[in-house]
Subunit: 199 residues, 2 copies
């Protein structure tokens, strides 16, 4: 004897999510038993909607239910500055700060020859095209400081050689509120490198 | 700008699960973007199936897709001994051990006057009826040693006064592998109380 088939199916589905193991999947699947029918129906519908309704913005590549995302549609935003991010979900992170008023460009990954990810697999060509077509003045590279991130940044810089677009990168350094005693040497090195003059 | 509506719906649904907060819900909702369409469809269907397909076994109250659960249907099990548990999911826990060969009875809660849960709200009447009708020789109370658990155990004992059914309870004591140094006094007290002779 084990759980009924429906519950077993649910456990298997929950286990497919990152960070959810056997025990948690069981707990989550069993908690559906006491949930409202309506809630479960909405949940079920939203899950299937993900594949049918969610698209990528045809311009910047961020998540959207329309052809163009809300940001690209917004006429009040500064269309001369692009924030270049690795994944579409990063866009939301930056939007949550609420201070960046430019547009975005989602690369859909980082260059990683070891994993077989080459520049052609990413949205780099379309980035270069946008920079030229849309008269972009500055791109901010907001990608992580890993080997792949550095390679990607280097490649983009090379591709833009000879153009007068400003290429900047977000600062890497001590997180706000962190105690300097506990920061790793690499971060400290970056913090010194990315230092800014204050007077 | 925020997530598309479908993703927001998903985040809200995930947040309804126990132990899942805003951040985890976001992470889980976003991970659906890279999942197979088939998996998401199975997931969605299973969620709605929970309310339509999963019933309670008409005899013991454990989870089942049929009128009678697999355990109650099984002719090879010892039908003279009942393991009394609080919730239907507890049945699976005991089944996982694989050594208990009797039947179960799910109380659907514990007596708790403060929460407005009285004996009539639980499957106690049906338990007493089963004990008489099915010629049960022993019931094992496998309920937690809380105030509610003790009250429920006491009530069941009172209801069975004058019958010759054996009432036992599972042992409370030191968990296997635990260091005795770190056990709380109440558990130690229970462990002494529930001691067994070994020679």
């Amino acid at each position: 004897m084990n759980y009924p088939k429906t519950i077993l199916n649910l456990i298997e589905c929950f286990k497919k999510f990152p960070g959810i193991g056997e025990k948690t999947a069981e707990r989550l699947a069993l908690s559906t038993l006491t949930m409202d029918k309506e809630l479960l129906e909405t949940f079920g519908e939203s899950l299937t909607d993900v594949k049918t309704k969610i698209k990528k913005c045809s311009k910047c590549g961020s998540l959207s239910e329309d052809d163009l995302c809300e940001i690209c549609k917004d006429k009040n935003r500064d269309s001369s500055i692009l924030c270049v991010v690795e994944e579409s979900k990063n866009v939301i992170l930056f939007e949550k700060i609420g201070t960046f008023n430019g547009l975005y460009h989602v690369l859909d990954g980082l260059i990683s020859p070891l994993d077989g990810i080459n520049p052609e697999d990413l949205q780099i060509k379309s980035l270069i095209k946008r920079i030229k077509d849309e008269n972009i003045k500055e791109i901010i590279l907001a990608i992580k400081p890993s080997v792949e991130g550095e390679t990607t940044a280097l490649y983009i810089r090379k591709m833009l050689e000879g153009t007068d677009v400003i290429i900047s990168k977000i600062a890497h350094g001590i997180p706000m509120g962190a105690d300097i005693d506990y920061i790793d040497p690499l971060t400290l090195e970056m913090a010194i490198e990315d230092r800014t003059t204050i007077s």
